[in-house]
């Protein structure tokens, strides 16, 4: 019996093509209107054809059989669904480690108790800032006090306290105070997620993107805080890929470990995969998850590296990041098979450099933010925002 200490006692990954994480984007409706939401801007099209309770239960069972063990119940705001308690109870009996990813809107004493009774393992609460002003501005709603209240409720019920803070130019300079707030609330985990530019956040990129020195400062403060607090609170700092030289290994590889089922039943390898043209994604109304995962052309499209073009194909680092994000490549360059433009070896890196340069140009930032609302979604679906979207190669 030899323990493999080099690999933390964990056997080498044999997870290839087995879903371990299921993200159920159970509804696209949300009372908040966050400017950085990664949901598709045309979500309005998918709000009338949501899966019913029985369909979700079928999804949970099928994904569990395939090997999924982590379950995220997300949205939109999942608490807008009246059947979330029933879905959680089923998830628990199937042996999922379940996570409700929420803004807190729609939570109350009765529901949090029912969720606990149903076996929900943890709640990830989004927080936005230490100031009421920025919280209410970026979400376009008066939700600051609500979040403080829900955080206390989560703690009181004995859930692990997991906070998620999306960072952007309006709150990133408050990072120290945000971390202190998390400590004060008794958070066990805090995810400081620099905005990734998809969906609404891409539409609002010029307004949201911090300057380079802001990012450097935030990372420094986070590291100092982490050193001080040790194991008491785990801090994840999701680096902003635009300020990196190599792309992220998006979703840990296309169709490798993540499976997403959207409100209307589409089965996706990542949140924004539908931006890629000429790919038809399976839908649970027509097909089982096993066929979707193993046999659908969409899930097989970017597995392995046969699809790669130069400079990725012959790149010595290709295993590190698998060429980065296919959606980002498509949205920014128009070619989903090209290198992620974040990579400094990409012929399209100038697109990222320009976005970084624009953070220094007050004129670019001055355009109004387009908040995530049904009205704005309809506007985008109807093609009314052409000018704002013209530099992207698909509707984000």
């Amino acid at each position: 019996m030899v323990l493999d200490k080099k690999n933390n006692g964990v056997s080498a990954s044999t997870t290839a093509t087995q879903p371990l994480w299921l993200l159920a984007e159970i509804t696209y409706q949300c009372p908040l209107q966050c400017a950085f939401c990664y949901n598709p801007t045309d979500f309005d099209k998918h709000t009338q054809n949501e899966l019913d309770t029985n369909s979700w239960i079928k999804v949970l069972r099928q994904a569990r059989d395939l090997g999924a063990a982590q379950l995220g119940l997300s949205g939109g705001e999942p608490l807008l669904r009246k059947d979330i308690e029933e879905i959680v109870t089923e998830a628990s009996s199937l042996g999922y480690y379940s996570n409700l990813i929420t803004s807190g809107a729609g939570m109350n004493e009765k529901r949090i108790d029912a969720l606990k009774d149903g076996g929900l393992d943890h709640i990830q609460l989004s927080m936005h800032d230490i100031t009421e002003e920025i919280n209410n501005f970026i979400t376009n709603t008066k939700t600051f006090k609500l979040k403080q209240k829900i955080a206390a409720m989560i703690k009181d019920r004995g859930y692990p306290m997991v906070l998620n803070v999306v960072l952007h130019r309006y709150n990133i300079d408050h990072i120290k105070e945000i971390l202190e707030m998390a400590e004060g609330l008794g958070a066990d985990y805090i995810e400081l997620a620099n905005t990734q530019y998809y969906g609404w956040s891409l539409v609002n990129r010029d307004q949201l993107m911090p300057k380079r020195e802001q990012v450097i400062h935030a990372e420094k403060v986070t590291n100092e805080f982490r050193e001080r607090i040790g194991n008491k609170m785990k801090i994840f700092f999701v680096v902003p890929d635009y300020y990196d030289e190599r792309p992220k290994k998006c979703m840990n590889g296309w169709g490798e470990v993540f499976m997403i089922v959207t409100a209307n039943g589409d089965v996706l390898p990542c949140h924004s995969a539908r931006v890629i043209p000429n790919l038809e994604f399976p839908n649970v109304k027509d097909t089982g998850l096993k066929g979707a995962w193993y046999d659908s052309p969409a899930f097989n499209k970017f597995r392995g590296d046969d699809w790669m073009k130069e400079p990725c194909r012959s790149c010595s680092e290709k295993e590190n990041d698998l060429g980065g994000c296919r959606c980002q490549a498509l949205l920014l360059s128009g070619d989903a098979e090209s290198a992620d433009p974040v990579c400094t070896k990409s012929p399209n890196r100038h697109l990222i450099d320009q976005a970084i340069k624009d953070t220094e140009n007050p004129g670019v930032e001055a355009k109004p933010i387009m908040f995530r609302s049904n009205k704005n979604s309809k506007k985008i679906s109807d093609g009314e925002e052409k000018e704002r979207l013209e530099k992207f190669h698909a509707t984000p």
Partner: protein, 92 residues
């Protein structure tokens, strides 16, 4: 941290240890994470139950794996690692 043979450990709060049929291995699940354990790591943690001492775990596994020399050291190493990762907590 030194491990004493009389120590008793349990799976840490907010963590869950379970067998995964589809993976054919034990896993530890926690917020935002999942760790697949190799065979020997899984065997050790399967006996970490808030009641058994390290001594009892060692005896049990020695009987099960008679061909492994110096198994006590491996078990101690695994418990140290699990403590360091905060997957388990000391009870006594």
């Amino acid at each position: 941290m030194t491990i004493d043979t009389k120590d008793i450990y349990k799976i840490a709060a907010h963590h869950r240890f379970q067998w995964e049929k589809a993976q054919d291995c034990y896993v530890i699940l926690f917020p935002e994470g999942m760790v697949k354990l190799n065979g020997s790591a899984g065997e050790v943690l399967n006996l970490v139950n808030g009641e058994s001492t390290v001594e009892f775990i060692t005896e049990t596994l020695s009987k099960k794996f008679t061909d492994v020399p110096n198994i006590a050291k491996d078990i101690e190493g695994m418990i140290e690692l699990a403590l360091d990762k905060a997957w388990i907590e000391k009870v006594n």
